[in-house]
């Protein structure tokens, strides 16, 4: 069954990468088989957790030995405006004895304890490798528990070894489609309702876009999954328009919501001035097409005009400081395109970007726009990254925490633009935040000092 699911997401027609593939290639799936001894990155369980954990009022229970949760909980900066239950780390912490006898009973007991103590609107149960190997049927346990306890108990069947983080994202999406979306009716429903997919509210980023949407009259009916609530997501099928945040990760959810409930979707992004404006405009247009008051369009244009003027004024300050400064962008690919646009708007020069998860089309777009000199890497080795930075081919690196020390050890400024970042970079304000952070880092007097050799050398 899990195998079928995996095949299904590999075949996802909404996926840009897939469109360019033959049927046979598609079957093979998204990720090349990993090279032992040279692989890096999370597992499918990791990806599923990333996609679903931001649903804030749900209890997220990890079924497995301590490795999967014990080493990883409490390491993401996704924020909630209310319930904090999502931040509690729950695991069955399977011991050797549990593995010999099977973990199903313990899993049921754990679900029961959690429901009794925390009374959540739902429990999500994550399958991991070891219980999958010994054949624990979490789907059956969840079904039984849901019936017994009167609360939805959702099995998330994405044990780590079935594949990459990205596959895990997609399996998480399938879980929502199979078990959650469409199971409730919303308390209120308006023609202005949108559902946002693939936005995790890292560092509270969603909250930079939300006030503008409020002003235009666009209502976030549900967000999958940043600052999400179970009941809202269960009623997501009543949204009028879906926005899939430009990433391949959850495209399957957007497409299937269209298929099942006729909700049109578009791919948008909250990063960068142009993308942000396009997103607001598209949202308003599509809502109006589906029956929202046409005045919404004018409100959207007014907000866009005002914000664009304000942001370009605020960015002026940085332009002279940024002229001639070169950026190495290494985000793992998800946001590379919109980040490039955003940084160029502020006067920076991008010397290269990773394209690990970008589609062929994206790459073409990038090439056309940036010229042949522009570096694109599917996979840049740390050694090479270090060399580039040390030989000052870039003035600053923007990346995720994983490569931070490559930059810092080369004594080159670095800024976190991935999961663990502390600052919100979305929307018009976000781009100013980002520029402020880049400027702060670039102009810090430590860089001159740390590069000095010891006086006796």
């Amino acid at each position: 069954m899990l195998a079928d699911k995996i095949q299904e997401v590999f075949n996802e027609p909404g996926c840009g990468v897939n469109q360019a593939k033959t049927t046979k290639e598609r079957k093979k799936g998204c990720s090349k088989p990993l090279k032992p001894g040279a692989a890096a990155g999370g597992c499918a369980y990791d990806g599923a957790m990333i996609a679903l954990q931001p649903i804030a009022d749900v209890a997220h229970l990890v079924h497995g030995p301590i490795a999967c949760l014990g080493n990883s909980w409490d390491n993401r900066g996704t924020r909630s405006s209310g319930s904090q239950l999502y931040r509690t780390g729950f695991t069955t912490d399977l011991s050797e004895l549990d593995i010999v006898h099977g973990g199903e009973k313990k899993l049921y007991k754990a679900i029961k304890e959690i429901v009794q103590q925390h009374n959540p609107p739902a429990v999500f149960v994550y399958q991991t490798c070891v219980p999958a190997m010994i054949g624990d049927d979490i789907e059956a346990v969840c079904k039984y528990a849901a019936k017994k306890l009167g609360v939805p108990v959702i099995p998330v069947n994405a044990p780590g070894f079935v594949g990459s983080k990205n596959l895990g994202n997609k399996l998480a999406g399938e879980t929502l489609l199979d078990h959650v979306i469409g199971t409730r009716e919303p308390e209120v429903s308006t023609p202005n309702d949108v559902c946002i997919i693939g936005e995790y509210n890292l560092a509270g980023e969603l909250w930079l876009a939300k006030p503008l949407m409020d002003e235009i009259g666009i209502r976030i009916q549900s967000c999958i999954s940043g600052d999400g609530r179970y009941n809202e997501i269960a009623a997501a099928h009543r949204a009028r328009v879906t926005m899939v945040v430009c990433s391949q990760a959850l495209i399957n959810v957007g497409r299937k919501m269209e298929e099942r409930w006729g909700i049109p979707y578009f791919e948008g992004s909250f990063y960068g001035v142009t993308d942000m404006s396009d997103t607001l405009r598209t949202m308003a247009t599509m809502l109006v097409q589906r029956g929202a008051d046409p005045a919404m369009l004018n409100r959207a244009e007014a907000v866009i005009a005002r914000e664009e003027a304000a942001v370009s004024k605020r960015l002026e300050r940085y332009k002279p400081r940024f002229t001639g400064k070169r950026v190495l962008l290494f985000t793992g690919g998800v946001k590379s395109w919109s980040m490039v646009t955003a940084l160029e708007e502020a006067g920076l020069t991008i010397v290269g970007s990773s394209t690990k998860k970008s589609t062929k089309e994206d790459k073409e777009k990038l090439k056309k726009r940036k010229g042949e000199e522009f570096h694109m890497w599917d996979d840049l080795k740390p050694k090479e990254m270090y060399r580039m930075l040390r030989d000052s081919e870039a003035d600053i690196m923007l990346s995720g925490g994983r490569s931070q020390f490559i930059s810092l050890k080369a004594k080159v400024p670095w800024l976190d633009v991935n999961q663990e970042r502390h600052h919100a970079y979305a929307g018009y304000d976000g781009i100013v935040n980002l520029c402020e952070e880049i400027d702060k880092t670039l102009s810090n007097p430590i860089w001159r000092q740390v590069r000095l050799p010891a006086p006796w050398e």
Binding site: K35, P36, G37, A38, A39, A40, G41, G42, C43, D46, L61, P65, I66, A67, C68, L69, G70, N71, D74, N75, R76, G77, T78, R79, Q84, T88, G89, F90, T91, T92, D93, L94, S95, E96, D98, L107, A110, I111, E113, C129, V130, M133, I134, G160, F161, V162, G163, A203, P382, M385, Y386, R387, G401, R402, F405, I406, E420, H422, H423, A424
Partner: protein
């Protein structure tokens, strides 16, 4: 303490906010204390990624760690091929001087034959004869961080230590448990060298994990004990065994080399430091250096100045077993009332831990027992529970991702003991003298989920920390 409750383990089915970390992760840390080594997890890739992120956040250093990248098929068919390919790839790409293999839950559930794997590998790859390998079994479902660390130290010693014809005067072995930070190890080396002794420390995290600046980027550890040094341990006069967890490695070393062991359950506190220093004086036949004598006086003075603020304070401590023993014992030396001591997993040393309650549990147990207490001592994962219980958290142990310098904190020897005492006493001194401090009016300062920092504040990254105390 009039009565001590001993619960072997929490009876819950769901561990809530776990204190426990997995055994392979502890194993990886031990391997990182070897020179130019690269730990390799034999398992699926996610386990490696999580472990790496946790250590990166704690040490703020690049962490070399690799995976055999088992997938569903190789897991079912057996993972020898993945293991061999990984070893060869790592050898080709990174030329490490040691590859340390830790198993995981995935490969142990299948029950892979590690010893057989090692033999097969050696047989099939004679050209890689000079590659040093250590294979250690560290199933995720058995024991925790400390157990994995201890098993790897034992594995290193068993793989390389050799008996020697002759003793080298002044050479001593040190087996350093995971309750010691890289900063602690550095301090211990200083103390030992102060007596003119030459220590071989296994593992030596002070050389790899205390902020080195390499000239080239390498995918292996940046320093540490060399395999040759481990080979020469048989020529030492004595082995200093630091921590209960090191007992088995010590026994293995003694069996192989006949070097006698001296055991120290902790190095924090006046009497504990005295024992260590006295032993070093005896081994070396040298007087105690003036610097240590001054440090001792300073600790005594600090105890006199500091005791006012610590007497009868109620504290809950939750740390890895040896660390738990060290800290609770020292707190009791200082007159603190240790209400509860919580360990992430069973360990022999728990028998010796004294506290109102000694149990194996998680951060939710800590939270429950800390209500009405004055302080919680635990790792950064304790911040949520501390905020819920309304009790400040003093950060010790691993992971400590919301403070800088967590790997360099020194709490051993006279100097380290004094600094720890000051840090703890200052929390209470500050509360007594600074009535405007926000601990006095927690309720409104700690608006958002008990968080006292905004999003840009290190501790408030996810809005759950009372980040007001700690190193």
């Amino acid at each position: 303490m009039t009565h001590i409750h001993r619960f072997p383990a929490s009876s819950k089915a769901a561990s809530t906010n776990p204190l426990k970390m997995s055994a392979p992760l502890g194993g990886a840390l031990a391997f990182l204390g070897m020179d130019r080594s690269l730990p390799l997890f034999h398992g699926s890739q996610g386990c490696t990624a999580f472990g790496m992120v946790l250590l990166v956040r704690h040490f703020r250093e690049a962490i070399p760690l690799q995976t055999t990248a088992m997938n569903q098929v190789s897991t079912i068919l057996g993972g020898y091929e993945n293991l061999e390919e990984a070893l060869k790839t790592i050898y080709e790409r990174n030329k490490p001087s040691l590859i340390g293999v830790c198993t995981t839950g995935v490969t142990e559930t299948k029950g892979e034959d590690l010893e057989g794997h090692l033999k097969t590998f050696r047989m099939r790859n004679p050209d890689l004869n000079d590659l040093n390998l250590v294979f250690v079994s560290t199933p995720d479902f058995n024991g925790g961080f400390e157990d994995g660390y201890a098993a790897v130290v034992q594995g290193i010693v068993e793989s390389f230590a050799e008996p020697a014809e002759q003793r080298v005067k002044g050479q001593v072995n040190i087996l350093a448990g995971c309750h010691l930070t890289p900063g602690d190890v550095e301090e211990i080396r200083d103390i030992v060298e102060g007596f003119g002794l030459t220590p071989i420390i296994v593992p030596d995290l002070s050389l790899s994990m205390s902020g080195r600046q390499p000239t080239e980027f390498t995918a292996t550890s940046l320093g540490g004990t060399t395999v040759d040094q481990v080979r020469s341990m048989g020529a030492s006069e004595v082995t200093l065994v630091l921590g209960e967890q090191m007992r088995r490695a010590a026994a293995a070393l003694e069996l192989k080399t006949d070097v006698p062991s001296l055991f120290f359950d902790r190095l924090t506190g006046l009497e504990a430091s005295d024992r260590f220093v006295k032993a070093l004086a005896e081994i070396s036949g040298r007087p105690v250096p003036a610097r240590l004598r001054r440090q001792r006086e300073s600790l005594v003075d600090g105890m006199l100045d500091g005791h006012f603020f610590l007497t009868r304070k109620k504290m809950v401590v939750a740390l890895e077993p040896d660390h738990l023993f060290t800290v609770t014992s020292y707190l009791q030396d200082l007159g603190v009332d240790v209400v509860a001591a919580v360990a992430p997993q069973q360990a022999a040393v728990l028998e010796k831990v004294k506290a109102g309650t000694v149990m194996v549990g998680d951060h939710s147990d800590v939270e429950a027992m800390a209500k009405g207490c004055d302080l919680i001592v635990s790792n950064s994962h304790g911040r949520m529970g501390a905020a819920h219980a309304g009790v400040p958290l003093y950060r010790m142990g691993l992971p400590m991702f919301d403070r800088l310098g967590s790997g360099l904190v020194v709490t051993v020897g006279y100097r380290g003991s004094r600094d720890l005492l000051f840090a703890l006493a200052n929390i209470f001194l500050a509360a007594e003298t600074d009535h405007d401090s926000h601990h006095g009016n927690q309720s409104h300062e700690h608006g958002h989920d008990g968080c006292c920092g905004g999003s840009g504040h290190g501790g408030g990254r996810e809005g759950g920390s009372c980040g007001c105390t700690g190193a």
